[in-house]
């Protein structure tokens, strides 16, 4: 149905406008809120926006014409319709005209500058420090919220968001990790000193095995490479042991601060699945397996798999073969969460500590 669009009233005192320049011509498609012509009004030169959508059938007002408000300015058609001077034209009732035009303008006007309006209009109550911290962290302040509604956003709110983003990232990584193959890094380490330390400890009445010393080494290395456990403040390591009766994975809380004897005691004390682990050590070596690659992580964290101690040949400094004790370690992790380079640095640090456990006295 063809219909007439009239000049909308856009200022309180506006009574008429001069059509300066049309932006549309017959045949153009016009959406409600589109600028259709430039007008000189009592206030200034400004754009007039369409109050309806359709196809321009005819421009009634010509450039240079002075048009009173609510006077027809153009004819709009529906799609597929042809403009015909004689076709019936819907004439909105005059009493409704002004009202309709005004309300429509109110709706139409903000459509163009919508994004600006939504950000400028709302003031965000945020401290200068929080604003700066968010900027430094690359966090959009629109994504922040105070701890209680109505309170000011402070630095702690920014840090809270960052922490949750981090843990989301770890969780997301974990989901991937449990559903897809992990990245793995495998190294062979010299176990001469590890085995000899174990022997000495046991001779002195301290019950501790290879896995306990390696767990301690991993914990100490995580201190330097926090990305490996998602920057968790406390280094909690699940020590998984496969048994013929199933899997046990006691968690050693704050493993880096414990002695190997305490780690051993923690592992022995608990056989149930405990929560709170942010790193895992798995020991199929205890069953005589030389190496294994964890295809998925049960506890949703990076996992260090330890193989059994074997004897093997290695080259000494003169390239002569020497027999030494060695074992293989494989770190399984999700590269979406932990950079491969960080993972490599971490496992090299573990190697250094396992090959020379006395270094841990200084760390």
């Amino acid at each position: 149905m063809s219909r007439i669009m009239t000049l909308p009233k856009i200022g309180v005192n506006m009574t008429e406008a001069v059509v300066d320049e049309w932006f549309v011509k017959p045949g153009d498609v016009v959406g409600e809120g589109d600028a259709i012509f430039l007008a000189e009004t009592d206030k200034a030169t400004q754009e007039i926006f369409a109050t309806d959508s359709g196809i321009v059938g005819k421009l009634i007002a010509n450039e240079g014409d002075t048009v009173q408000i609510n006077e027809p300015i153009m004819v709009l058609l529906d799609e597929g319709e042809e403009y015909d001077e004689t076709s019936p034209i819907a004439q909105p009732a005059v009493t409704e005209k002004e009202e309709a035009a005004v309300t429509k303008v109110v709706i139409a006007k903000p459509q163009t500058p919508a994004p600006i309006k939504s950000t400028v209009g709302e003031r965000i109550k945020i401290s200068p420090l929080a604003r700066k911290t968010a900027k430094d962290e690359g966090i959009d302040i629109l994504s922040l919220s105070p701890i209680k509604p109505g309170k000011r956003i402070t630095k702690s709110d920014v840090l809270r968001l960052r922490e949750s983003a981090l843990s989301t990232r770890v969780q997301r990584g974990a989901v991937t990790a449990s559903s897809t193959a992990l990245d793995t890094l495998t190294i062979t380490v010299n176990a001469d000193m590890l085995v000899s330390l174990c022997q000495k400890l046991n001779d002195s009445g301290v019950a501790a095995g290879n896995v306990d010393i390696i767990t301690k080494a991993a914990a100490v290395a995580i201190r330097e490479h926090g990305a490996v456990n998602g920057f968790a403040e406390q280094i909690n390591i699940a020590v998984e042991a496969e048994t013929t009766e199933g899997l046990s994975n006691p968690v050693v809380i704050g493993a880096d601060k414990k002695t190997v004897a305490q780690i051993k005691a923690d592992v022995d004390a608990s056989v149930s699945v405990a929560s709170g682990a942010n790193f895992a050590v798995t020991n199929l070596g205890a069953l005589g397996v030389e190496s294994h690659v964890p295809a998925k992580s049960i506890l949703n964290c990076a996992t260090l798999a330890i193989g059994c101690v074997t004897k093997g040949f290695a080259a000494d400094e003169f390239d002569n073969p020497v027999v030494r004790k060695q074992l293989k370690m494989t770190l399984a992790f999700d590269a979406d969460v932990i950079d491969r380079a960080v993972a490599a640095m971490f496992i090299m640090q573990v190697q250094k500590l396992v090959e020379n456990p006395m270094l841990m006295l200084a760390l």
Binding site: P128, L129, R131, K151, T154
Partner: protein
Amino acid sequence: MSEITVRQALNDALREEMEIDPTVIIMGCDIAVRGGPFGVTLGLLDQFGRKRVKDTPISEPGFTGAGVGAAATGLRPIVEILYSDWLTLCTDQIVNMAAKMRYMFGGKVNMPLVIRAPFGAGGGVAAQHSQSFEAWFNHIPGLKVVAPITPYDVKGMLKAAIRDDNPVMFFEHKRSYQITGEVPDNEDYIVPFGKAAIRREGTDVTIVSYSMMSIRAQNAAEELAKQGISCEVIDLRSILPLDYETVMNSIAKTNRVVVCQEANLRGGLAADIVAEIIDRGFDLLDAPPVRVGAPNVPMPYNAGLEALCIPDEENIKEAVMKVMSND
């Protein structure tokens, strides 16, 4: 070390400086024969004689002007204004003469003048004897302004003030004379201007204070610590120059600040300090700074109303809670 009062610390500082330097003189109402209305100058007349310890008529503009002239011509006078409220009478001598002379004469005149002015509220001495005017003099280029509170600082800063070649406004709190503290025996020390003291270390809120308010701030901080709020209390000691380095370092740690003064709030030193903090470290602030001060009324004589008007530990605690609230 000996435990002495603020009164004794002031007396010791005056005596020691007068012994060291024969050009040091003191004058004011009742300071010679009577030994000072607060007993600060007891014994000095006997030791140094009438030429160096002078009782004056009750004319602050007269004897302050005499002090300015004496300072300009080679002596190091200490002028006592019995109540700092009377600074109104001699402000022309201080602001237009003492503070300007060295500058306007191209540095050819020194102005080693010390104005001792007991200030602060309490004790029911009413509206004309309870005021704190440090903000007025902080506004004047050419002056130095200090307000120490511990016996150690009082003695060391009065000695520093006497040795300074510029006019120094020395504000001593009139309720502080009986406060005791340790001061080294037989040691000629000074406390330099422009260095604040951290009276208590903390991590949550910085409380900037001076004079009696620093003692109240420490008391408030002790109580707040029981609620798990850790306050760092800074005693400025020296108002002009002011140690903003210490203030800003503390705020960099706590990100929240309360600034205390005993004077009524409007146009006060706390406002000036807050403005400077914002200039220097807007991005360090996690909350709007909060000021503590008296209401903008003349100090009432009535004991109940007076207690209501003097900012105390409760006001400081409320301010700390406000700055912690994030409202």
